[in-house]
Amino acid sequence: MNTKETVPEGKVVVARNLTKMFGGFTAVDHISFEVDKGEIFGFLGANGAGKTTAMRMLCGLSKQTSGHAWVAGFDIASESESIKKCIGYMSQKFALYEDLEVWENIRLYAGIYGVPEKEIAPKTDELLQRLGFESEKHTLVKSLPLGWKQKLAFSVAIFHEPKIVFLDEPTGGVDPATRRQFWELIYQAADRGITVFVTTHYMDEAEYCNRVTIMVDGRIDALDSPKNLKQQYHAKNMNEVFHQLARNAKRTEK
């Protein structure tokens, strides 16, 4: 059977009954959803709800127990190496090499993601100019302020123009002004057609997503635009929606 035929046109992620079990524990429990091209897709849930496990499967880092999923048209079970080439990934914990200079970090990641040699230098200058970082080209990353590091880490994650970028709590701990500038970068990436898959614990950021899923106990208990979710749950804001859903969690943390 050619499974690729089941991937609908224009969908960057398709998950069908995706499931992951660790022994007798079902971390991700038959989740199904689709993400459109250029969409900002918020992936929310309490700690231990299964977000990271789901994200690891979609990035080709962990094999599902059952179900199917396609990312950028590739099957996560059989084509994980192809997936890794057309995705970007950034988390708060793993970002950049502190002991490399700004341009060296860009050079390294561009090489890893297979950006053609002669494109790297001009694209680096263009990127630094857009971020207003030209003067920091030869600065060691460890001496940059945290907010700059995070903006740089995001830009590096999308340097190879991936189909989709996965952001795992990208704004944790940054100051309020920088957090907002970071979201403006996300908007710009989405406008260029890069799909953004983002987890966050800031509920105001959930409002900036086109659609939001809320995972509870390994399942997707809600999936809609913030506006519709607020209507459906008679909530003033996404924080209230989140509390109403996450309160239903049965499983104690593992």
């Binding site: 849930g45 309490a46 700690n47 231990g48 709800a49 708060q92 302020p145 945290l146 907010g147 709590e169 944790g172 701990g173 940054v174 100051d175 309020p176 002004a177 920088t178 907002r180 979201w183 403006e184 908007y187 614990h201 509920m203 105001d204 950021e205 959930a206 409002e207 900036y208 913030p226 506006k227 804001n237 996404m238 924080n239 989140f242 509390h243 996450a246 309160r247 969690a249 104690t252 943390e253 593992k254």
Partner: protein, 305 residues
Amino acid sequence: MTAVSASHLSKKYAKVQALKDVSLDVSEGDIFGIIGPDGAGKSTLFRILTTLLLADEGTATVNGLDVVHDYLKIRAQVGYMPGRFSLYQDLTVEENLTFFASVFNTTVQANYELIKDIYQQIEPFKTRRAGALSGGMKQKLALCCALIHKPSVLFLDEPTTGVDPVSRKEFWDMLKRLKKEGISILVSTPYMDEASLCDRIALIQEGLFLKTDTPQNIVKAFDRELWSVQSDHMSRLLTDLRMNTEVESCFAFGDAHHVTHKHTFLKEEALTSYLKNLGHSNIHIHQIQANIEDCFMRLSDTKSL
């Protein structure tokens, strides 16, 4: 009575000025929040107050004891939960707790009442090694270990970082119960929405206290009219508002943008027609009360000028 008092503390690491002339007073039984982003100097302040680091300048006391001369006495009287998980990963939940009790010359039984509510939530896993616990459970165990010698002052350095909103709320409920027991709490957080749960707060950025007061007073002291603006094109609205010469600042706040104006009064009709001409529809503009995050951005902006 003052539980913690710091006066003109400064600390420099090589080139980085981590704290600049910081002063604070925590009254007995209060929850005092140190609120600011990573790298602002919160942990440096905590280490000085818990006698683990010497300040370059300034003095501080805990329960009236000097952090330099009376450091041994202070250590017996305070509980400290560092930002990084600090328990022994290879000991079980129960062994960690027993260990910390014995270090402070006490037993788990002697002070069990104080930690009972929290410990019962992790007790089903008491034979599990601490390293194998989830984030939320590690946090609860760390809090139990910081409390097991019945300290009168609790120092919690970013206890809720990376924790989801529901678990964060539970954690703050625990703090409120500890406050009722008369424990004074100094807690740091990067989450601005936790400010309203504190009796008093200090907003910190780049080693500097921007402001110290009750959350209510800080919000009241916001020195501009603040307006909430919405339309059908929120992303473009942000750019269009910033292009308007009358607009002083404009930031995204969830489902609305918060706007301050260069002149004292915003001319609502003028702004509405400006936005209509740019093709916006469903425009909603109304005046709102600033929140702590508005204040933080305004204060850090004016300080850096």
